[in-house]
Structures are given as structure tokens and as C-alpha cells.
Amino acid sequence: MPTKEDLAIAKQMPDAGGHFGQFGGRYVSETLMAALQQLEQTYEKLWRDPQFQAEFDYDLAHYVGRPSPLYHAERLSRELGGAQIYLKREDLNHTGAHKVNNTIGQALLAKFTGKPRVSAETGAGQHGVATATVAARLGLECTVYMGEDDIRRQALNVYRMKLLGAEVVSVTSGTRTLKDAMNEAMRDWVTNVDNTFYIIGTAAGPHPYPKLVRDFQSIIGREARQQCLAQTGKLPDALVACVGGGSNAIGLFHPFIEDADVRMIGVEAGGYGIETGQHAAPLSSHCKPGVLHGNRTCLMSDEGGQVIGTHSVSAGLDYPGVGPEHSYLQEIGRAEYTAINDDEALHAFRHLTLTEGIMPALESSHAVAEAMKMAPTMDKDQIILVNLSGRGDKDIHTVAGIDGINF
């Protein structure tokens, strides 16, 4: 167990070089170094700037619709017969997921730096939609990279991005999923570094991205902490969030790091099951540290150092790495990581829809499934706070397909 001092240190991470202990850092080709240094300086200056903060807060309130509610899922909790489940309703944000908190922040950075074009990678398409949305609002040119397989899985979001004026580029290299979309977005950035702001979609990538994405997403945890205290008079016993790259999870976790009694549980995609090797769960399958997409983190790669193909029913979790801060929080024993398989997530998707009338994204369904497992083992006066990172409309197509229905 980490001591009070350890947690105080953890809260201050990363160091000046973007390191979270042995993880993180800036592992990129030389062409991008100047752009990253510039981004770091801009960010450090603006994040403390009252005018920037005021604009960010205004947008979160009036454009995104924050604060998002904290909802007591009473019927579900009663039925499970254990801990009380509270849902942080990021699904109610404009565009339907937590992703927009981050794109609002990064688009403001793009605006302050005067870049006319933004680019992004996307898996489930939620980050792509959130980027296309803020680009439309600010009148910026927008290119979104998306793996060919994900374009098929998330057709609705692809069309949505196009309606918003974005160019969606199909990525056909490698495994044709999020990892490859990120490769292509980095190639775009190397080529167009002078006029393009790269809006990364998760708390990964080279320094300062993991830090700034966390800071923009931490609104989730700050609100949830206050709301939980106001509604129940105490802090939750456990936080549960799904982990793809880890942005919704770190956004919820970070403001609670020094609350040592609050357990933090990150839920990765177990795919067909950890034992099958067909999953996207680097932390819960105890992968060694590796280097991909600009940072050092636990990474699914083979004994020759090649990155392994992943599988998850949810496109947004289908990624072989994880944000470096999660690798760190696991290493120091502050956060725990576990995996939920495809069929468990699908069951949770249906179950929350039926019992609460809330349809979660397949990504968020992983967190719901874990909470459903935990609740019966806990007391009725205990609290599990689940980050409901997004809504499930985009996944109706996938679930219908599993039910044998084609529109």
C-alpha cells in the first residue's frame, strides 16, 4: 500500500520530462520535438491563465452541458442487493461521451496558437465526432483518421463526422483499428506540423498529451467528488471506469488520488477472455513496459517487440497500450485493473438499458459489468461510483447485428 507521502508525490506527477515514474516521457521522431516543446509551453502558460480558464469553464457549462449529473441507480442497486451504484452521467454531454471535455480544451489551445487545421485519431468514433464538433464551431479544417474495421463497426459516427464537415480517412494498414489510426495521425502531424494541431483522444501519446488530457478530463472527478459528498455525505468506496487509452478513467480517478480509502478500479477489455490472448487488456494481463506512440507504458507486444493485434467488441477499448499514468498507478499499488469480456459487457449493456432506461456505450458497459460483479459482495451502505463515459446509440448497430438484425 502506498503511504500518504507516496500519494502526495503521485498526485504531482508527471515530472518535468513527462515521466510518471518509469512510464510516460517523450519518444518521438525529431521532427515532432519542437512542436511538442511548443505545445508544452503554451499549455503550461494557458492552463494557469484566468482568461483561458474562464473560456474553458464557460464552454463546459453552456456548450457541453456540465455539470453532468451523478445518478443513483436505485433499481439496479436494489436488484443486486449490495452496494449502491451511482452513475456519473458523461453520456449526457453534448456529443454523447466524455471525449468532448478534452476536445473543447485542446481546440481552445489550437485557437490560442492560431493553427487553422486540426487532426485526430478515433476508434469508436466518439473522439472523432467530438473533434469534428469543436472544429465546426471554431471554423477549423478537420481530418479524422479511423481504422477500416472501425469505420464498418461505427458507421453512424462516420457519417456524423462527415455531416460536421470533417474529412474521415480510412486507415488500411496494420490491424485497421485505433492503433493504426494513431500511427497515421502521427504521420499526418509530422508532415503538416506547421499548420496542424493534433488533438489526441486519450491520455496517452508523448508528453505533454497524457498530462493535458488528464487535466481537461479531471472535471469528471472533481464534480463527482463534490456531488457524492453532497448527495450521500461521504466519499464513494470505489470508483469504476473503463480503460481504453485511459482518459475517462484518469479524469475520474485523479482528483481522488490522495483519498486513500477510495478504491480505484480500471476495467480493460477482456475480449474473448484474457486466457485466449484475444483481448485489449495490457494491465490486467501484466504486460511488460514497451514504447509505442510516444510514451513508455505497459504494452501488448510479442517477445520480438512487435505490437500484438487486439480484440474487443468495443472499438474504443481496442488498443494494445494504455496511458502511462495508469501503468504508474498500477505499479505503485494505488489503482487496480481488471478485465471484462465481450459477453459480460454485452449483458451489462442490455441490463442497464432494461433496469434503468439508460443505454451505455459498449465501452462504458465494461465498467457497468464490473460494478455489477462487485456490488453483491459489498454492504448496502457502501457506494460504487461508475463513470458512464458515453451513451450507447452508436452501438445499437453492433448489438442488432449480434441479434441477427440488419437495418
Binding site: 518521438v28 521532427t31 515532432l32 519542437a34 508532415t191
Partner: protein, 267 residues
Amino acid sequence: MSRITECFNNLKSQGRKALIPYVTAGDPDPKITLPLMHALVESGADIIELGIPFSDPMADGPVIQLACERALLHGTRLVDVLDMVAEFRKTNQTTPVVLMGYLNPIEIMGYSAFADKAKAVGLDGVLTVDLPPEEAGEFNRLMKASDIDVIYLLAPTTEEARVQKICAAGSGYVYYVSVKGVTGSASLNVAEVAEKLKMIRKYTEMPVGVGFGIRDDASARAVSEVADGVIVGSVLVNKIAELTGNQEQIPEAVAAITASMRQAMDK
């Protein structure tokens, strides 16, 4: 003196510039790489850059991405690439060989194991695209202890203060990336490159190689007039791609391109 430094010194005394071809190890078949390396040397190559295949070559354009995919189809791993260097050294003890690639295969092997093995097989240098000097403390120390030169990239976006820092960290030569972009993308502007090299030379005595955007005899010659080394990759890899169905023709066909560049550079 390292084999790389000796190579550049010899060329300098002859008034010639280094021709440095890049090919991806194991592309399209591990059996081709060794004869290809020898053919390149015979055609006038001075140093060989051998690519370590990687699943996610983020700094490369489609040509070298596909080369990696072809090499990985046969499961060419870092250990296999090092074995190729060992084979090459059995009959060639003079031509420097530099491995070029991404960090993860080396990270997973372990820096220390890699350094030992690299020394044992007679490797001369290593260029890791995604390992800038800021993250390379331990790596540099182990490579230096094994007498392996660590070659760094400089880019058009690299500011002057950083050029100095990078040159201080590296050895052997520095590699100036002549265009903003991935490998095989745009054509380079020789006048701009010449300006940049003037600045770089304020900070280092090391030879400067220029790569990215060299695609024919004319660009090779133009670059050789301002740089110490001409690095050529995508055109060669393209030729390999064309001939994947007729593998036995690859060494000769690729060497024909470098032979012609050599002639153009020496004129």
C-alpha cells in the same frame, strides 16, 4: 577509431562522399538480405543502414511500411537481424553496418542484451527513430561501452540550441532529415538543406548524412555536393517491392540503382 569514423576519414582523403543505402532486413525474404548487402557494397555503397522490421513504423511512408509487413510475414525479429550482421561480417570486415528502427524491439530485448549482442556480431551503429537524446541516457551509456555509435536525427524543425545538444550526444555521424514528413514523401530542396548544414556544422565536426527525398542520380549528386553522406531508402525498397515475385533478381536490380548514383556522385 570506429569503423564508421574510419570510413568517413578515408572518403574525405579521396575527396568522395559516402553513399548510404537503406533496406529493411528480411524484405521480402530473410534469405535475400545477405546477398543484397554484398551487392550493395560491390555497387559502391560505403555504409549500410539495415532496417529492423516493426509492426508500427510511425515515421515511415507506405513504401517502408509495406517493407516491414513483408519482412514480418517471415517473422524477421531483431535477433535475426543481428544474425544477418554476423553473417555479413564473416566475409566483410570493412563496411560499417548501422541498424535503423524503432525502440520497442530493443526495449523488449533489453538494452544491455542488445549492446552485448551488437558488439559480438560486429555492428557499428544504431539509429532509433523514436528515442531522442532526452530519453537515451542509459541506452547511450551501454552503447558507448560496447563501442557502438549512436546516430541521431536532426530535422528541419530542430532549433539551434537543440542541434548542439543532439550532436553532443551522438557519435559516428548525424542524420539530417531533409523534409518535414515521413520517408518517401516529398522531394528535397537542396538550397535549403545547404543552409541548414552550414548551421549544423557550427556545432559538430562529425560527418553529416542527408536522407529523405533522395530518389534519383540527380538528387544524389546534388546532395553529395553539400553533405558528407547521401542516404537513400524508399527508391530501393520500391524496387524490392516490384520484384517480390522474382526475388533472385533483387540484389542485382537494387545494386544497379546504387551503382548509378555512385557514378553520378563521383563525377
